[in-house]
């Protein structure tokens, strides 16, 4: 019997476009290879990149989600990054923020440092790990159409939600597209936006 042909992985930039279109006023936390594309696709003041502490994106997002239960927080994580702080799955699930959506861009490599394979490569089952850690809703998506169709419901669902996205390599990495707003400025801009009410009128 012929093997079922593999679906081509989703382009990360296409996935991010879908997120940008559906997010509303959600806070977004990109990291590593989602960062350069995200700052082009969504150059706003409601995002903060995890820069300089690889593996910390979901923890940064958890803190935001706990502080601001009135807003949705979307983490745009990578598989190599998550492996660096795998225990964060249990911490996120244990804290149980209802407004927390953890999107994992799974490509099997450390793209930024030269596309070396992550330990275990694509066979690592993050869905099972997130489920085991206690996320409320966990799924895997391998087509852009399905992601487009399901994202609105996932953004309304009771979290923490975890979605493993089967993606290819982004066009740019933080090494090939340097720049962007420095992390301290991102932090203060987002803080001002979140804690200080905008003037009315």
């Amino acid at each position: 019997m012929a093997a079922k042909p593999m679906k081509p992985p989703m382009k990360p930039e296409d996935v991010l476009q879908v997120v940008a279109a559906a997010r509303g006023d959600a806070i977004c936390v990109p990291t590593m290879t989602t960062s350069p594309a995200w700052r082009t696709i969504a150059p706003d003041d409601l995002s903060v990149g995890c820069v300089g502490f690889m593996g910390g994106a979901s923890s940064l997002g958890l803190g935001l989600a706990l502080a601001r239960p009135d807003r949705r927080v979307i983490v745009l994580d990578g598989d190599g990054s998550l492996l660096m702080q795998l225990g964060s799955l249990a911490t996120n699930a244990g804290a149980a923020p209802r407004n927390f959506v953890h999107l994992l861009f799974k490509n099997g490599v450390y793209h930024t440092s030269g596309a070396q394979g992550i330990p275990g490569g694509l066979s690592v089952d993050f869905v099972m790990m997130a489920k085991g850690a206690g996320y409320r809703q966990v799924l895997s998506i391998d087509s852009l159409d399905e992601f487009k169709r399901r994202l609105p419901e996932l953004l309304r669902a009771e979290g923490p939600v975890f979605v493993e996205l089967h993606t290819g390599l982004a066009d740019q990495t933080p090494m090939t597209a340097r720049g962007g707003v420095p992390f301290p400025e991102q932090v203060e801009t987002l803080r001002v936006r979140l804690v200080r009410p905008r003037p009315t009128g």
Partner: protein, 186 residues
Amino acid sequence: MPESIPATLIIETLKDTFRDARAALAKENAEPSRHDHLGWILSVPDTHQKTVLAALDKEESIRVVTCATEDEATAIGAGLYMGGEPVVLMIQHAGLYASVNTMRGVAMDGKVPMFYMVGLLSREKDKDPRESRHSMVRYAEPLLDTFGVPHARLEGPNDVHLIPEYYRLSRSRRGPAVVLVGLETS
């Protein structure tokens, strides 16, 4: 000679610290908090401060989030800071060593205020920590000095005023500040 600090005294001091922090936020014209509790403790359980952690379990005015690593605690603390919530990290010296890159990236280079209470487990009562026979005790202050992180020792009940002082210092410097808990809390 250093003395053990009662958990109740530390918790009351933390409550005052959080009240002051909320008052300072109000002066910034900040939106009111979405929470009823005073503030957050991010903890990777520390044997040295276990009586405080046990008492915090029964304390409704402070929310404790137990983290798997000190790296996570630091990044979660940054998220809470951005959301306008007062937060204190309670960890052990071993966790300070384990998470020093995240402290550097988030609190130092990232200029995120981060206040740590670090337990000096195995610190000898009759020795200055820098003279300890335990490397984990001995290296804590030199490590903080190397990174230029302001720090102070809580050597007894009379030193708890350092908790709000160093909390405020972390805010005014926009970076890390540490108090080292000298003896196991009681």
